[in-house]
Amino acid sequence: MAAGAGSLDRQLAGLFCRAAGAAGFECAEARPSEIAALVTELGTRGIRIYAIELEGASLGPELPPLLVGAKEATTDGLLPGRKGGQEVSGREGQAEGRAPDHRMEARTDAASVVRGKAGASKTDESEPQVSHYDSGTLMIKAPIRSGQAIMHPHGDVIVLGSVASGSEIVAAGSIHVYGTLRGRASAGALGNTSARIFCRRNEAELLSVDGWYITAEEMEGVSRGKPVQAFLDGEGLRVETLS
């Protein structure tokens, strides 16, 4: 979707029509202030933006991180009529690259409501750490503190310390925590159904794989305080203790 400056309202309207259809959006020549307004507006409607694709631009710390290394995907099938005339900036590929990102939001709908409320305000202050493009695996040697958010759209995340409650890890691949996992962990966030979450001690607020999630209350007793792995098994998320 493309639109010039000053037509944010129209963009928003269109955006909501297409959100269910897992669209990527493109604001031609959008300035950071406009992007901020759009993100805020989306925030009030309960939609959280995980990343923004914008070439060669820098955004303020209050905005979601820039998405780097997105791959061109074939969303033609998902977006009928998309090529038909709206293209303005010639950055089609990048817009399409965003598609999986939004699909994740659509799928993790229930989960992202939980996260959207708790997480959105926190990420304002702590800049989410985004890994470098060339590394498939993100290794974090320090503990993850309350309020920190780790986004890794390229692969696995390995945390050598603990993950504090009130923090969040979102990874395209699997998540390995060699300390106590007390925060939220979302593996396979871009649709990887074979991603898993492993931790030495499970005190998590939320575990989610590919949008399927389980909250702390549901884990009560069964797997709390134990070394566990969480993975998708048929139609649902399974949390199993590791021997």
Binding site: E125, S126, S162, A164
Partner: protein
């Protein structure tokens, strides 16, 4: 060049100001030149605890705005002559602080003093972030309770992200000071144990200050506990913490509950 130490916590009421005064006084007694800077602009409590509230003429905001010289605003302590206080303004609010202004003041203090202790306001707002901005080391004050520990964890995250040192890719040295520790209640499981606190925060321990009426009394008298009653257990713990802050290696002993004869006879029935 002196060392700038920020005394901070996420939660209020854990004893930041008391600890700043006690640690600063303990370090100053060893002959080091120490400045205590109150960053709690708008509330201003450090001067009370130091017993200097009637000597405040100029304050941090005056210095930052250039209406007073640093030497005019610094108040020399009457008991220890290497101890100085830079009070906060009561009438202004945190917006009166600018990053450049704070940076300049801290730089000047750093060049004159061996230690600069910054008493941070509670929370994670601008005031707290400015207090920690130029620090080399941080003392995170926490009580052995979950809300305090979680807020401290949040603050440690900010210390690793928002300080000048962190932005230059360096690490800021961090220490946890556990205050208001009640051995009896910890033994009964009514408080987090020290091990739990350290496990959650994974930051080295600077000291454990036992809960004590003497601390409150000293604060109300306007004297840091390390000066007024240096022999009681809390003061001793602060003095040891100050020595660790100066780089000495001292083992931390977790206070235990002293049981009287009757307690032993009756067991723990009272609990």
């Amino acid at each position: 060049m002196g060392k700038v130490v920020v005394v901070t916590s996420g939660k209020g009421g854990v004893g930041k100001t008391t600890s700043t005064a006690a640690l600063g006084a303990a370090v100053a007694k060893t002959g080091k030149k120490v400045a205590l800077v109150d960053f709690d602009v708008g509330l201003r409590n450090l001067d009370l605890i130091m017993g200097a509230e009637r000597r405040v003429v100029f304050d941090l905001v005056n210095v930052i705005q250039g209406t007073a010289k640093l030497s005019q605003a610094l108040i020399r302590d009457k008991r220890v002559d290497t101890l100085f206080l830079l009070p906060a303004s009561q009438t202004r609010d945190k917006d009166a602080l600018t990053e450049e202004g704070v940076g300049e003041v801290i730089d000047k203090l750093r060049s004159v003093f061996d230690y600069v202790f910054c008493d941070s306001p509670a929370g994670i707002e601008r005031g707290a972030q400015l207090a920690m901005r130029f620090a080399d080391e941080a003392v995170i004050v926490t009580n052995p309770e979950v809300s305090s520990v979680r807020d401290s964890d949040r603050i440690i995250g900010l210390l690793d992200a928002r300080t000048m040192r962190a932005e230059q890719g360096e690490q800021i040295a961090k220490h946890v000071l556990v205050t208001r520790y009640d051995a009896g209640r910890a033994a009964r499981g009514e408080m987090l144990s020290i091990d739990d606190v350290l496990e959650i925060l994974s930051v080295p321990l600077l000291g454990i200050i036992p809960e004590s009426q003497d601390v409150l009394r000293a604060s109300n008298l306007g004297s840091p506990v390390t000066l007024s009653e240096p022999l009681n257990s809390a003061a001793k713990a602060y003095i040891e913490a100050a020595r660790r802050l100066e780089g000495e290696e001292l083992p931390v002993i977790v206070p235990f509950e002293r049981k009287g004869f009757l307690d032993r006879l009756l067991g723990r029935r009272a609990a």
